[in-house]
């Protein structure tokens, strides 16, 4: 091959004249060929029936395709409403991102700090950028949920170029907030998670960078932060009370954290007393906030008979196998605010400070990972036992706005399972006299206002965790074991199951119903578990403690189809190592990996899903990472 020839052949490297002819036949359809090529092609086609047939086929196919040009399928009518709503959300997110742009700190900078994350929902911000003038109408905001469900809300870089990513896919807009800190120097930061990568592609997704931080002026290292589902500014922090027990206190989170130049590097703060931001001191009992049928008597009555005028006297006449007496006092015996452990901010640094505003309980040992707000955000419940273990666990509730939490059960063997609307669902052994051994469990509901307890649930299951729609529950189907003089309850022999839920009232009637419908979740011994549903009731995470080390566990994500079938979509975490405490909601689940994996610290991992895909993204390693709901 001559040098000349090689050069000539480069642009159009025809192995055969037929190949050349077919290429030219195609190109001819897009525009006139040069005179030489046109002549050559005509000549070739005249003498080559195969190529002529191919050229003819190209033209035929082209005509067939072009015949459909005018037949435009009709887009859905609500497409603009969906799109403009999503754009509006996007513009809101942009505004927020920009306001924090001066304070972006990569999570890697927090290496070595305790990191706690809490998913904070970011509500759509209406900035009115799109003004609808035509018949498609202004009803965009109403379309938000649908647009979100479509999973196509946003598609930009996780951190606007700082975390470059290879074709990540968009997930619903929202931030993951976390608290990071060393000792008393804590900062709340946000990381935007609007794109994630496929399971096999996470390396390309880079790591997350936060986009803002606020100082969190609390003295105790937080063990958990539980954000309110309805009030993005409110969270309950579980922390060490400095006396061997736990303390629960409320903090006000900034809803839109403004820029702060340097989180977690502020000068020391002088101790000061907590500022209590609520003046509500009335006793919770008898207030009209409870739903009527939650406080109805339990004597096997179906839902329809639930008396709206239930009174505490009903409580006395109801089967008192659990509660004994409700604790109506706003000044419960054990929990007392511990102002000395709280630190108000009078730091001269410019960044906003989040101070603990209210201690709702202390001197307790919080049991398990079940602490949760009710769906309407008005109540918070948890299980706790005395620090000295003079008794086993009881259920505690705090009504948002009250001065303190109060003890709802006092049998010393009840644990909080989940919320059924604004009714507490709890579990305990069937026997009242608990010594170490194996027991059958039973579950019940308690009205948080009146303390009326009912063994309303026909299943002998332990800790049913209801989805927010009240359609299904994840339950421990099996025995429970008591240890440590009956103060420690744990799942015994059995399995986790997904069951349909017919409502706590109806369940009293058809106790057998649903028993056989349980779909097993995982298998093997379970030392402890934590189940959390997303707000749609279609996804839930199951964390199962390691039998040998309950401070470690494995987390899985499940999806429930419309027909109730259980599946694990590709890309979902399944039995991945995770520390206790995870958050789920708004199309994402966040958790912390145990430290030491790959010789590194912990990471906050976030898995997010749309209707059709599951992907994940993670932070750079830090130490002692704990992710909280």
């Amino acid at each position: 091959m001559s040098r000349f020839g090689r050069i000539r052949r480069r642009p159009d490297h025809w192995a055969t004249p037929h190949e050349r002819a077919r290429a030219r036949a195609s190109e001819r359809l897009d525009g006139p060929l040069g005179l030489t090529e046109a002549a050559w092609l005509d000549e070739h086609l005249a003498g080559c029936p195969d190529c002529a047939a191919v050229a003819q086929a190209y033209e035929d196919d082209r005509l067939a395709l072009r015949g459909l040009r005018e037949q435009l399928p009709e887009p859905p009518r609500d497409l603009w409403a969906r799109t403009s709503a999503a754009i509006e959300r996007e513009s809101g997110a942009r505004g927020r991102s920009r306001s924090r742009s001066g304070s972006r700190v990569p999570l890697g900078a927090l290496s070595g700090l305790a990191v706690i994350a809490v998913v904070v929902g970011v509500s759509a911000v209406s900035s009115g950028i799109l003004v609808m003038g035509d018949q498609r109408g202004p009803g965009v905001s109403g379309e938000d949920p649908a647009a979100n469900a479509a999973g196509s809300a946003s598609a930009e870089s996780v951190a606007q170029g700082t975390g470059a990513a290879a074709t990540p896919f968009a997930v619903g807009a929202g931030d993951v907030a976390y608290v990071a800190g060393r000792g008393a120097d804590l900062a709340l930061s946000n990381i935007g998670v609007d794109e994630v990568c496929y399971a096999d592609d996470t390396a390309d997704c880079g790591t997350l960078a936060d986009n803002g931080a606020s100082r969190l002026a609390i003295a105790a290292a937080p063990k958990a932060i539980i954000g309110s589902p309805t009030d993005g500014s409110k969270a309950v922090v579980v922390g060490d009370d400095g006396a061997g027990g736990d303390q629960l206190f409320v903090v006000a989170l900034p809803e839109d954290a403004p820029a702060s130049p340097a989180p977690a590097v502020t000068p020391s703060e002088p101790p000061a007393s907590a500022s209590v931001d609520t003046s509500a001191t009335e006793a919770p009992t008898g207030t009209p906030t409870a739903t009527p049928d939650a406080s109805a008597p339990a004597s096997g009555a179906p839902a329809e008979s639930a008396a709206p005028d239930a009174t505490p006297s009903d409580a006395a006449s109801s089967p008192p196998d659990i509660t004994g007496e409700p604790t109506p006092s706003a000044t419960p015996p054990t929990p007392t605010p511990s102002p000395t452990t709280l630190v108000a901010s009078n730091s001269p640094t410019p960044e906003p400070t989040i101070a603990a505003s209210l201690a709702i309980a202390s001197g307790l040992e919080v049991v398990g990972e079940t602490a949760a707000f009710s769906e309407d955000g008005r109540w918070f419940a948890f299980a706790a036992r005395p620090v000295d273990r003079s008794s086993g666990p009881d259920i505690w509730v705090w009504r948002v706005g009250d001065a303190s939490a109060h003890q709802l059960t006092n049998d010393g063997i009840s644990v909080f399972a989940s919320w059924d609307g604004d009714t507490v669902v709890g579990s305990r052994p069937t026997s009242d006299d608990i010594i170490d051994g194996t027991y059958e469990p039973t579950s019940f509901t308690v009205d948080p206002v009146s303390g009326v307890t009912r063994t309303a649930i026909g299943w002998d299951v332990y800790r049913p965790v209801l989805d927010p729609k009240g359609r299904r529950a994840v339950v421990w189907a099996g025995s429970i074991t008591a240890s440590d003089a009956g103060t420690e309850l744990a799942p015994g022999t059995g399995r986790l199951e997904l069951r349909t839920w017919n409502g706590s009232d109806r369940q009293t009637q058809g106790s057998g119903q649903g028993q056989s419908e349980g779909q097993p979740i995982g298998s093997g011994a379970v030392a402890d578990f934590d189940v959390r549903w997303d707000e749609s009731g279609s996804w839930f995470g199951v964390w199962v403690a390691e039998p040998t080390n309950p401070a470690m566990g494995r987390l899985s994500l499940y999806h429930v189809g419309a027909d109730g079938s259980l599946d694990v979509p590709d890309g979902s975490p399944s039995d991945v190592p995770a520390l206790p405490g995870f958050s789920i909601g708004e199309g994402r689940m966040a958790w912390a990996t145990p430290p030491g994996q790959g010789g590194e610290g912990s990471r906050v991992q976030i898995v997010a899903w749309t209707d059709e895909a599951v992907g994940s993204v993670e932070t750079t390693p830090g130490e002692d990472v704990v992710v909280v709901r």
Partner: protein
């Protein structure tokens, strides 16, 4: 890295220097006008939503998915408004965004092999009537189109059904003019071969049916 690529590509749909963008006085991240972008995208939407939806539907064959992706494309258009250099390039620019959305989605579907979610499947194959009603390609042509590589499919659809030519096609495909032409050539050949296979399969099925019929008649 991919983000960078995306932005670079979107910055100048017609392949010219992206430096011009900086002269517009609208730096990327900070000061572009939301109202302006919103109004512009609304206009774009009114004008082009039909063809963008049609393109995505033809690429994906699922109305729901196509609708989601159309939405996605216009959101991206909004977010990348500042990358549009000249308003007269808006259509090709929009197709480029839609094309990228489609390729990303296709890639995702290849990587994330998704379990069918009973009762919530959004990818159910539409009926023949539905196809006809929607004015989509049907029969062997549709099957053949689905069998050729997606970039080739995109090139064919954009050129033949959406009437993008020359530089517009190249911009929408995110490749050079020469590469776009070569892609189209390969696409035509792929389609021809795929169609031949589909037609042969059809003929074989027809023959089998006839044979069955004949056997049934014999009895």
């Amino acid at each position: 890295m991919a983000i960078d690529r995306t932005l670079t590509d979107l910055r100048d749909p017609l392949g010219r220097s992206s430096a011009v963008r900086l002269d517009r006085g609208r730096p990327m991240s900070a000061t572009w006008d939301h109202d302006e972008a919103g109004a512009f995208v609304e206009t774009l939407f009114a004008k082009h939503q039909g063809e963008i939806y049609a393109y995505l539907l033809r690429m994906m064959r699922d109305p729901e998915v196509a609708a989601d992706m159309t939405q996605d494309a216009f959101i991206k258009a909004y977010k990348n408004y500042e990358t549009l250099e000249k308003p007269e390039n808006a259509r090709a620019w929009l197709y480029q965004i839609a094309h990228r959305v489609a390729l990303d989605e296709i890639r995702r579907r290849k990587i994330v092999r998704f379990l069918p979610w009973t009762g919530e499947s959004r990818g159910a194959a539409p009926s023949a009537e539905h196809l006809a009603m929607e004015g989509r390609l049907s029969g062997d042509m549709q099957r053949a189109l689905q069998k050729i590589p997606e970039r080739q499919r995109a090139a064919l659809l954009l050129a033949e059904l959406h009437d993008l030519t020359g530089l517009e096609l190249a911009a929408a495909l995110g490749v050079s003019h020469v590469a776009a032409r070569a892609l189209l050539t390969r696409a035509r050949e792929s389609l021809r071969q795929a169609l031949a296979i589909e037609r042969a399969a059809d003929a074989a099925a027809e023959a089998a049916r006839d044979a069955n019929h004949a056997m049934g008649a014999d009895r």
